[in-house]
């Protein structure tokens, strides 16, 4: 190896190979971007309510306790399928109401139980968050999670 693979050959392999893989990655990224827009998230419309809900989700750093599509902290339940778990996936009004009363009941203050903080959300914000979670639930995630427990 040491005869054939000189330092400059090793360097050129590094440069050439990296550019090659960056190229493949770029092509697949474009394809994936189009797939997201046209297929996996096309079942539910990306409404203003959904966008508002995403901002609510971010403003309160929900991801630092919960997971969403399995990503986030592992302190609190998965919410990518919470609307399915609650059985309200196709009923926007019921979904917002269920979520609203859940959020209002926090924190539970039960001793020895993980606490979710109280977030002072407006009615519109609750509706947005609920629409955002319904929208995420309808994304084609290759059948993940394995069951409703999330």
């Amino acid at each position: 190896m040491s005869e054939f693979l000189t330092k400059s050959r090793a360097r050129n392999i590094f440069y050439g190979g990296s550019l090659f893989f960056i190229g493949i990655f770029a092509v697949l990224s474009i394809d994936s971007h189009l797939y997201v827009v046209n297929e996996s998230t096309s079942k539910a419309e990306l409404t203003d309510e959904v966008v508002l809900g995403k901002h609510v989700w971010e403003k309160h750093a929900c991801i630092n306790c919960h997971t969403l599509h399995g990503e986030g902290a592992y302190f609190a339940p998965e919410v990518g399928n919470v609307m399915t778990r609650w059985g309200v996936l196709d009923d926007p009004d019921d979904a917002a109401e269920t979520l609203g009363s859940w959020m209002e009941a926090q924190p539970s203050r039960i001793e020895g139980r993980r606490q979710m903080p109280f977030f002072d959300l407006t009615k519109e914000e609750v509706r947005g968050l609920s629409e955002f979670l319904r929208w995420a639930d309808k994304t084609n995630t290759q059948d993940w999670p394995p069951n409703d427990a999330g």
């Binding site: 040491s2 693979l5 330092k7 090793a10 360097r11 392999i13 590094f14 190979g17 990296s18 893989f21 493949i24 990655f25 697949l28 990224s29 394809d31 994936s32 971007h33 797939y35 997201v36 996996s40 998230t41 990306l46 966008v51 995403k54 901002h55 971010e58 309160h60 750093a61 929900c62 630092n64 306790c65 997971t67 599509h69 399995g70 990503e71 986030g72 902290a73 592992y74 302190f75 609190a76 339940p77 998965e78 924190p107 001793e111 020895g112 139980r113 993980r114 606490q115 903080p117 955002f132 929208w135 995420a136 994304t139 995630t141 290759q142 993940w144 394995p146 069951n147 409703d148 427990a149």
Partner: protein, 461 residues
């Protein structure tokens, strides 16, 4: 230390150590909340604690990399840093940004994407600091001697700074958001940071073992080639379940399996260099951290990464405590230990003293490494049970968590050992001015005038 501008690194290292303390204390608090969930729940909720824990980690590792670059590049390029003043301005921007972020997190002001929670003005500050840094080191490198170590280091730092631009792009579509979010997160820790790691490790091996530069640099190019060949498409292992095409399951499984190779090579490289090298460098603690980093990175990033990376496995284990176990050992081995290695190597020179702190420092290595390993084991057990009960049996999240309490108690104990180790490390680096434990070290104490001591003060020459 051969160049006076290397001194800049000292300020970076001290700032990094301060944040390191904040990071591990934040981690300990988060670990305690797992055991006693009502603790501080309304004053400082878990999401904020975790934000402090992860953000402090990322920023101190970056400060360490910047400092290491300012230390290494003058020696490699054989000239002073282009502008010492710019280097300090860069540090001030980063420290102000970091303190600003900490204060605003505690007040509940933050953006909402995991690890990228910094308020916009802090993100911009990081970008400005990175640009100053790139200008400064690029000018230094361009005017000086070109080596593979600086070449790889500078490519890594340029690439990670450019990828930071994706932190500013937050699409409304959640799946797109996640896809580009990984451009920062994955392509940092499983791509560009590996370049930085390999070049710093190469520099340390060059100095500590005295092996021929040609040999080391050829190894380095092979290591970073395997890192990027596997790591770029290895991004696919994050694209399985977030709304992206199904082909990522195969691409991600194959290429992220290959991601074990660069870590295996870095470990092999370090041990082979130590065997080959004839130099008996007196800074044994720096050697311990270097070998430890390469070894624990192989296990944490390589083995524990592979453990749950195949899509058939990940379908069940995704987002469980197994992920947490892997994350902790991988970050500790690859990036924490490597930074501590370079701090340990450089500090005696930066402070103009002998490596007086060897026993305390090495003790802190075993405390931290032992603690992290134990934490990884108990979280892996917890994650295995969680995966089975929640993902296979389908039991509710919280009732599964309630049954994992014993593991979280053990994790807290392991975390406490890490915190003690970290504080001991900081103490050993900054405080002792006299040789400690000369007899127990078993070797001839290094005195100010001995050739070994001179070698340390001059950077191992």
């Amino acid at each position: 230390m051969k160049y006076s501008s290397q001194k800049v690194a000292y300020a970076y290292f001290v700032a990094a150590l301060g944040l390191f303390a904040i990071q591990v204390l934040g981690g300990l608090l988060a670990g305690w909340i797992y055991v006693a969930p009502n603790f501080l729940s309304e004053l400082l909720p878990f999401n904020i604690v975790r934000m402090l824990h992860t953000n402090a980690l990322i920023v101190w590792l970056l400060l360490g990399f910047f400092g290491a670059a300012y230390f290494i590049i003058p020696e490699e390029s054989e000239r002073e840093i282009h502008s010492v003043k710019l280097a300090y301005i860069q540090l001030i921007i980063l420290v102000v940004g970091t303190l600003g972020a900490v204060v605003s997190y505690i007040m509940g002001i933050h953006e909402g994407r995991e690890f990228l929670e910094q308020p916009l003005w802090v993100k911009v500050g990081i970008l400005v600091a990175a640009l100053i840094f790139l200008f400064n080191i690029s000018m230094t490198v361009l005017k000086g001697r070109k080596t593979a170590i600086t070449n790889i280091l500078v490519i890594g730092l340029w690439a990670l700074s450019l990828l930071w631009l994706f932190a500013f792009y937050n699409p409304d579509n959640l799946s797109l958001d996640k896809m580009y979010w990984w451009y920062v997160v994955h392509l940092w820790v499983e791509g560009t940071w590996e370049l930085v790691m390999a070049s710093i490790l190469g520099f340390l091996m060059l100095k500590l073992t005295g092996v021929d530069r040609e040999v080391i640099e050829k190894w380095l190019y092979i290591i970073v080639a395997t890192a990027l060949f596997s790591g770029i498409l290895g991004t696919g292992h994050h694209y399985y379940w977030i709304g992206l095409p199904g082909y990522w399951q195969w691409i991600g499984s194959v290429f992220s399996t290959l991601e074990v190779i660069p870590f295996f090579l870095m470990m092999t490289f370090s041990f082979v260099m130590v065997w080959k090298g004839r130099k008996n460098h007196p800074n044994k603690a720096a050697l311990l951290w270097s070998l430890g980093s390469a070894t624990v990175a192989f296990f944490g990033a390589g083995v524990w990464g592979f453990l749950h990376t195949l899509h058939g496995v990940n379908f069940y284990s995704h987002g469980t405590q197994i992920t947490a176990a892997h994350g902790h050992l991988a970050f500790f081995g690859a990036y924490v230990a490597l930074n501590l290695a370079v701090f340990t190597y450089a500090m005696p020179m930066l402070k103009g003293r002998n490596p007086y702190n060897q026993v305390l420092n090495m003790g802190s290595f075993w405390l931290m490494t032992g603690g992290m390993s134990f934490m990884t084991f108990v979280l892996t057990f917890a994650g295995t049970i969680q995966t089975h009960m929640q993902r296979v049996v389908g039991e509710d999240f919280m009732s599964v968590q309630d049954q994992l309490t014993v593991f979280y108690i053990m994790r807290f104990g392991a975390g406490a050992a890490v915190v003690i180790g970290a504080l001991l490390f900081i103490y050993s680096l900054l405080v002792p001015r006299k040789e400690l434990f000369t007899e127990t070290s078993g070797s001839k104490p290094v005195t100010g005038s001995s050739p070994e001591a001179q070698a340390v003060l001059e950077g191992g020459r």
